[in-house]
Amino acid sequence: MAACARLTRALVVPGATLGGPGLRWLSRSVGPGQAVYDVVVAGGGMVGTAMACALGFGAWDHICNMRYKPFRRMQVWDACSEALITFDKDDLDDMGYIVENNVIMSALTKQLDAVTDQVEVVYRSKVISYTWPGPFFNEETSPWVQVTLADGCQIQTKLLIGADGQNSGVRRAAGIQNVSWPYNQSAVVATLHLSEPTDNNVAWQRFLPSGPIALLPLSDTMSSLVWSTSHEHAAELVSMEEENFLDAINSAFWSDASHTDFIDSAGSLMQYVFTLLQPTNSSARQLPPSVAKVEPKSRALFPLGMGHAVEYVRPRVALIGDAAHKVHPLAGQGVNMGFGDISSLVHHLSTAAFNGKDLGSLSHLAEYETERQRHNVSLIAATDLLKRLYSTTLSPLVLLRTWGLQATNAVPPLKEQIMAFASK
């Protein structure tokens, strides 16, 4: 029996977030006095909106009707050596999907429109302050969270979900400590046209000493670029001429400038060893496509850093998405972790609702926090470690990572584990 408890209404309020209008999700019970909402989602980008839609699924269908690109293979290699690792499923099934931000937002917004009786969206609003309930039940003060909007509206809710991005206002107001450090890198994103149409179903990533460059397929002729590099270089890339930009990209993928003989020979030695041990293994090295054109006005950059909130929950507050954690894009897991948060929180909330519990009660929120922190912390730690490991050209470390990469490539079960963890 599925746990079905319907929240009467959710309200989503836009706040200042990276992507799109913020959405606040409130659920209103009609009655005398001030309305009390079941849940408020503060901030809506992809994660906030998805949380609001979590009551009803079907957003994926909207995405399918728009644009998405399945990819079958992922090739990751090093600029300082010949080592590479490939991920693919046994029968070359779709490994995953690349979907543009805008497409996701659009699909989710469409889905929200379908549940207007339960979800109310307040566009273009900003939260001024939050008032938390006291720790003890008091006749005078309300036990609900009070949210004050810029237009003077006061909203009460039983549970406030903070989905308002890395500079989360909810997190700050709740006084939750955030462990963070900047990476001194910026990511440059752009939409590129390939030089020739191809069965574009491979995701490419190359680790340069300055940072990883990745090419993700969007369609048979277009790919998305994510290039993490130093602040200065990123600013340069964004402002340079299109031709020079394309040259830079192509050479980043093809150039052998960072190779050293020592590492090359060490790498081929290890490769030889693995071929001896497992002659049947290893897929062939493929060559990444070259790019011919940049979509006009699609170049942008944003700073990178790492962030993790020490607590995800407080009584009547829960953090999801970037408000709770921020990660380097080298593994492409940022928003995926957010979606994972949503599915876990929805599961716990619906079980709690089916047990008639108060939604803001810490007991089930703490379970959500434990579950997600276990998963997220390991992923963030691994990504941070990879980033540090690959940002250097020191020979011992390069040797270590070359051999490590080759070893991981040679062990299919390990790769499957990695893929499974990343797709949770």
Partner: protein, 374 residues
């Protein structure tokens, strides 16, 4: 009897906030977010604990300034680590009957069991506080009630599984069980002899418009409403109550009278075994000092067999008896086969129509002698 006063300050040291707790740290209380005990000091029994006031808008940060000094009545300083044990919950139930003497005399309510609950009435709703085990017992009791009631109906509304049902919660205390049942759609009547408890319960539900309409509270005992509510309830819940009543037979008779034919009676209580004596009386009251001495009377604990015989002799067919176990470290309850400590029972009032489709999934209570190793 010792009352423990817990004080703490928020990070800026802006004043102290105090709460009288019955040594209710446990590990759950310590995990309380945003606020926490800073010091522990015991006060004498007569002291009214200082009422906690929430600072405006600021969440205090969790600082545990442990000053583990306790003054006993004799002025001796010693450290006390108070743990929540199995028997904690029934101690709380005791408190619900505090002040009975002031209200009325009744065959079932024991006036001796009541005094200090008045001071504790407002602490019902602190989930990490003194009543934490009761709050977490909801994780067992609510699904127990909900699922057994759903078995009786053929279809239910999605989102409100108990809608249309009328439930009576006898000895509701602060309304801990009434509110979840109300959220699931039932129309709940909660009765408790203690005025303060009813007031707390009413105030708490008044903030939620939906619950305000679905739940009603009354300060009275069961006998007082038997005549006017005969055969009106789909279910009666007597959770952690029967071990405190004077006359169990009369109590069950009254429950049966207010039930509709085919209605359900849900009881959770403590078994009368050597184990419950060891843990519930000796450990909780005398060793750990959590439960004030004399709160419990082991003689009034009810064994499942005894309960079953009372139920059956009053026309209630027992459907299920299952044991419950509390883990003081995690703060969670769980179901167990062993009924030698806490257990839950479900019985149905027989009627002409309801045939004896007896799902006798009873687990026989374990004799006191055999239970000692558990």
């Amino acid at each position: 009897m010792k009352q423990v006063l817990v004080c703490w300050r928020d990070r800026k040291g802006q004043g102290t906030r105090a709460q009288a707790m019955w040594g209710s740290w446990g590990l759950r209380a310590v995990r309380a977010r945003g606020w926490g005990p800073a010091g522990v000091r015991s006060a004498h029994r007569g002291t009214e604990p200082r009422r906690a006031t929430a600072p405006e808008g600021k969440q205090s940060n969790r600082i545990l300034l442990m000053t583990p000094w306790l003054f006993s009545d004799k002025g001796i300083i010693y450290f006390k680590y108070n743990n929540i044990t199995f028997a904690y919950s029934d101690k709380m139930k005791n408190y619900r009957y505090a002040g009975m003497r002031l209200y009325s005399s009744s065959a079932t309510v024991d006036p001796k069991e009541m005094k200090t609950f008045k001071a504790l009435a407002y602490k019902w709703w602190d989930e990490q506080g003194a009543y934490a085990p009761l709050h977490s017992m909801n994780d067992l009791r609510v699904p127990f009630i909900r699922d057994n009631l759903l078995k009786m109906v053929t279809n239910h509304q999605l989102g409100s599984p108990l809608s249309g049902m009328k439930i009576l919660d006898v000895g509701c205390g602060g309304g801990l069980l009434c509110e979840p049942l109300g959220r699931l759609g039932a129309l709940v009547t909660g009765i408790d002899p203690l005025n303060e408890n009813i007031k707390t319960a009413q105030q708490h539900k008044s903030f939620d418009p939906v619950l305000d309409k679905r739940i009603q509270y009354k300060a009275c005992s069961l006998e007082d409403i038997v005549e006017e509510t005969a055969e009106t309830f789909d279910a009666v819940v007597a959770s952690e109550v029967v071990e405190h009543v004077n006359d169990l037979e009369t109590f069950i008779q009254c429950c049966c009278q207010v039930l509709k034919p085919g209605g359900s009676l849900f009881i959770t209580t403590i078994n009368k075994t050597q184990l419950s004596y060891a843990l519930g009386i000796i450990f909780a009251e005398q060793i750990a000092g959590i439960v004030p001495k004399g709160t419990h009377t082991w003689e009034k604990f009810v064994s499942p067999e005894e309960l079953e015989s009372f139920l059956e002799s009053n026309g209630l067919l027992v459907q299920t008896i299952t044991g419950m176990l509390y883990n003081p470290f995690s703060g969670y309850w769980r179901w167990t086969e062993n009924t030698s400590l806490n257990y839950a029972a479900h019985a149905i009032k027989s009627s002409a129509q309801v045939e004896t489709e007896e799902h006798h999934t009873k687990v026989p209570g374990i004799d006191g002698q055999e239970a000692s190793q558990k």
